[in-house]
Amino acid sequence: MNHLAEKYSEEIQAILAKYPADQKRSAVMPLLYLAQRESGYVTKTAMNEIAELLGITATEVASIVGFYSLYYDKPAGKYRIQVCTDLPCALRGAEEFLEKLCENLGIRVGETTPDGMVTVEHVMCLAACDKAPMFQVQSGEGLSYHENQTVESAMALIQSLKKGASHSNKDGHP
């Protein structure tokens, strides 16, 4: 049984409609996002289901998961806080920001808070270099940018997330 196909049949139809009928493979990336929404990472079952939907092999699907850094093959915290520490941001204090944030959370970069809510990671440039320090939050509800941050504002956001608030801006417009 194809769980993904059943649960998201409409979304899947809409995704497939974007690409020529004989090029279904193009839909692998959007379908992986769909699968990741489910469990925060892409399970082997999901890979098999996507492979079945697209008529390709599970290995071909897995290769995509492995190549792109926004797909995960392992679970982590409910929210992934990804701080940009690339050159332009680093020139504006992003590394100290990340360090302090981790100190505040009592974890090291790459780790998850004991309550399983937050994983902090560093990432490459997110095209927000003029608004450093900044980070993105990734979770089942999507991905959002948080710019011109201080450790205080970031902690406040994390607190609200832990209380169940949404992190994406209301209209989805960043």
Binding site: T57, T59, E60, S63, G66, F67
Partner: protein
């Protein structure tokens, strides 16, 4: 013919067809451009950057379009600022390629130094040592030393099983992608791939089971390092300790050319043993590939004469009800005496894994005594193949646009994987494929037309095609008429008839002897009527169940539909390379006296009065005739085991005892007799069979970096026979009798018909001894449609009692929507007694708790 282009490579003038890549042009000129990712059988990708060369191109005057000349009149050549990759650049007129400069040398050193930064340099314990492109090219083109700090090398897993057959050493992998590209481009089994990116790239498989492909072993030949190795050979031996012997794969009718690598081994008592099977190049047969069955299923040949395998070691004669060892002299005397007494009461039953020489002697002996011969098989039509078989010079590699290939009643991926692969490639070159079958098979993916018929209507479907072209036979039976109305079938027929070349491969899925003979006749009629006979790349190919069934037909053997009765009424039964009792217990009631000539103590042998042990084909020489009617020679790979004889020799000696003029010593001399007595084989001898011509791409010759470790063919490409049609014989149409075995008449009371299918990896005697393959061989099973299963309340995977031909056996239920309703698919050689379509009864087996 393509336009020719002349260029200069390292001072040498080379003329090659337009479109040739520099790397290949150089190879043809005997100049080595080192490559890792490039492989002459695959599209270039330019990944490894090892093949760097300097390229100069003549300067063209924009105004005149003429080549600008230097003062001395030579063309002015301009070199680019960068080194370029020879593997991705096609040649052009007047191009000047330099591979021997300091700049190029430095560039290649740079690349090798990069590759070695992550390589573990564990060559002393590497299976590839001695035949490793990385090692060779490092010696030839590498830097003296590495400046990379050893401790900073990436540590990765070294023993990763990609399934049970192939192992991966992640540290040794140089990310050339050859294996991944082979699996997707050539095999179309993209079950291994890259994971991660950059320096973290690694090969993975996510298939169930891992690396699930019948072609997986080929990746170990083309992997340019010791990253991929077979579970069979891993740590088995060092390549330079190995001897090699040319042979032919005995597993299917394709006749892949192979090389057995052997070594004298202390742990086998100092005897020569086979360490691995490698492909041997024959561009007209298997190119440089073999399937995993051919690579791994050779173990049945092991242990001849040693007493520590299942192999028979000495002649046995039944004394006081028990089989007791006796001398050869005694055994042969007993047999000769019995044969003499039997005279015309002798029935010789032979199997299709025997060589031509064996079969010829068997026929001579039997005929000399006035006895009868029979071929033990479930498929017929070899006489028609001899008439309208493919013409001399047939080569799938030459088929492309203009060629039509029709495959009927065969799941080629399972039955003859290399033909599957080559037909797929022909389609990619533009050939038109028609697949006619009762259920979907993998090959259909490439088909331009699919003709679907119900089991039992195989010949009818082909006749319907013919009928739709020209209503030759007005009174066709109803099933044919119904099929003939299908627009898809009509389109397929039209396309086939209109093609310049037409080729038909027919198999035995769903068929027994009568059905396959009818099908062969129908196919022959189609070929004759559409004028697709007597020429290269036209004609009929039988997808036999055993390697040399065509040879058996050519030697005069024929199957008989009344075999069971004939066996019972024979005074003496001489069974060679066949196990009827093992296949069907009802065949166990043999005649008065039973002589079995075998490798193993089969169920039939256990019943015998005399058992004669023989050599495996790896222990002797001989020849096979492939499905494409190519006669090919195999050579002994290991020395003759003491106490065993070749089949032809045993038969020959029996014959001599009976005063018949039979050759009993040299296979080559038997071949001379074949050539003098069998018209199609006229002019053949072992020398001709050993002839070779240069093949492209060049493989072997110590250039393993280029084509991989496939062996060069220096021991013979074989000779393709001309069918009667090509020799000018008239080939009349004949109309098969329609037993009109429509489904309903054959089905059981429950309305179920068992249809036999063929699987690559089965439980047959020449596969099962290779324990490595067990994980890939399913438990005995039958497949049925979920709708039928629902009616019978059979859940998927349930254990069933399957009653066929009066014998009940246990088998698991596989539910598969592709199985037509009312049909139960029963795989051959999987422990269920199936020979042709037959009524079947199935019910859930009582679950006996242990």
């Amino acid at each position: 013919m393509a336009k020719q282009v002349t260029l200069t490579i390292d001072g040498k003038q080379v003329t090659v067809p337009e479109g040739t890549l520099i790397v290949d042009a150089a190879k043809k000129a005997g100049i080595d451009v080192p490559v890792f990712c490039y492989h002459p059988k695959m599209e270039p990708v330019g990944m490894c950057r090892m093949c760097l060369v300097e390229i100069g191109r003549p300067v063209i005057d924009r105004a005149t379009g003429q080549v600008v000349k230097e003062a001395d009149g030579s063309p002015k050549v301009q070199f680019g600022p960068k080194l370029e990759t020879a593997c991705t650049t096609p040649v052009s007129e007047g191009m000047v390629v330099v591979g021997a400069s300091e700049k190029v040398k430095a560039g290649r050193e740079d690349i090798l130094e990069f590759l070695l930064t992550s390589h573990p340099l564990d060559c002393p314990i590497c299976d590839k040592g001695g035949e490793c492109p990385l090692q060779d090219l490092t010696m030839g083109f590498g830097p003296g030393e590495s400046r990379f700090i050893f401790d900073e090398k990436m540590r990765m897993d070294k023993h990763v099983p990609l399934g049970e057959l192939i192992y991966l050493d992640r540290e040794r992998c140089i990310q050339c992608g050859r294996c991944v590209r082979f699996q997707s481009e050539i095999a179309d089994d993209p079950v291994i791939g890259f994971y991660q990116r950059g320096r973290s790239l690694e090969i993975v498989t996510f298939s169930e089971p891992g690396f699930d492909s019948y072609f997986s072993g080929n990746t170990t030949d083309i992997c340019p390092v010791g990253a991929l190795t077979t579970a069979d050979f891993r740590f088995g031996a060092r390549p330079w300790e190995l001897n090699n012997a040319a042979s032919i794969c005995s597993q299917c009718p394709v006749g892949c050319n192979i090389t057995f690598n052997t070594r004298r081994e202390a742990r086998s008592g100092g005897r020569m043993v086979i360490k691995r099977v490698m492909p041997r190049q024959n561009e007209a047969v298997n190119e440089i590939w073999i399937c995993d069955k051919g690579r791994f299923a050779y173990h049945f040949t092991e242990g001849g004469g040693s007493g520590n395998s299942e192999r028979l070691t000495q002649p046995l004669v039944r004394k006081n009800g028990e089989l007791a060892p006796v001398s050869w002299d005694e055994a042969l005397q007993v047999v000769a005496e019995r044969f003499r007494q039997a005279g015309s009461g002798l029935l010789t039953l032979a199997g299709g894994r025997l060589s031509n020489e064996d079969l010829f002697n068997l026929r001579q002996l039997t005929q000399g005594l006035g006895g009868q011969t029979a071929l033990y098989t479930q498929m017929a039509g070899g006489d028609l193949v001899a008439q309208v078989g493919v013409g001399q010079g047939t080569n799938f590699a030459d088929m492309g646009a203009g060629s039509a290939i029709l495959v009927v009643a065969s799941d080629l991926h399972e039955e003859a994987p290399i033909w599957y692969l080559r037909i797929k490639q022909a389609v990619e070159r533009g050939a038109m494929l028609i697949v006619a079958g009762a259920r979907p098979t993998r090959l259909e993916k490439y088909a331009a037309h699919v003709v679907r018929y119900p089991y039992g209507s195989e010949a009818a479907a082909i006749l319907a095609m013919l009928n739709s072209l020209s209503a030759k036979r007005p009174n066709l039976p109803e099933p044919v008429q119904a099929l003939a109305r299908s627009p898809e079938l009509q389109a397929a027929a039209k396309a086939f008839a209109g093609a310049q070349n037409g080729l038909v491969l027919y198999g035995s899925e769903g068929l027994g002897l009568e059905g396959s003979q009818a099908l062969a006749q129908a196919c022959a009629n189609l070929l004759i009527s559409t004028n697709h006979i007597g020429r290269a790349n036209n004609g009929l190919i039988a997808v036999w169940q055993r390697a040399n069934e065509q040879g058996a037909w050519d030697m005069g053997f024929r199957p008989r539909t009344d075999l069971a009765e004939a066996m019972k009424s024979a005074r003496v039964l001489y069974v060679v390379a066949a196990d009827p009792a093992g296949d069907d217990p009802s065949m166990a009631e043999a005649g008065e006296f039973l002589v079995v000539q075998e490798l193993f103590l089969t169920d039939t042998a256990k019943l015998a009065d005399v058992v004669l042990p023989v050599e495996a084909y790896t222990e002797r020489e001989g020849s096979f005739t492939s499905g494409e009617r190519r006669v090919q020679r195999f050579y002994p790979a290991v020395p003759e085991p003491a106490g065993l004889k070749a089949d032809f020799a045993v038969t020959g000696q029996i014959g001599q005892l009976l005063g018949l003029d039979l050759e009993a010593r040299f296979a080559s001399k038997v071949m001379l007799r074949i050539a003098s007595q069998i018209a199609d084989y006229a002019g053949l001898d072992y020398v001709r069979l050993a002839e070779v011509v240069e093949q492209w791409p060049i493989v072997g010759r110590g250039d393993v970096y280029y084509g991989g470790t496939s062996y060069e063919n220096s021991q013979g490409l074989g000779v393709q026979l001309a069918p009667a049609a090509q020799r000018g014989a008239a080939v009349p149409l004949a109309w098969p009798e329609f037993a009109s075995q429509s489904h309903s008449q054959q089905a059981s009371a429950e309305g179920l018909l068992a249809a036999p299918i063929n699987r690559l990896l089965d439980r047959g005697q020449t596969v099962w001894p290779s324990t490595l393959l067990h994980s890939r061989i399913p438990q005995p099973y039958v497949a049925l449609n979920p709708a039928d299963a629902a009616v019978l309340r059979i859940p998927s995977g349930a254990m069933l009692q399957v009653t066929l031909n009066g014998t009940a056996r246990l088998a698991a239920a596989h539910l598969d929507e592709n199985v037509p309703q009312g049909v139960v698919l029963v795989p051959r050689s999987m422990g269920l007694p199936i020979f042709g379509p037959a009524p079947v009864e199935i019910r859930r087996a009582e679950v006996v708790s242990a």
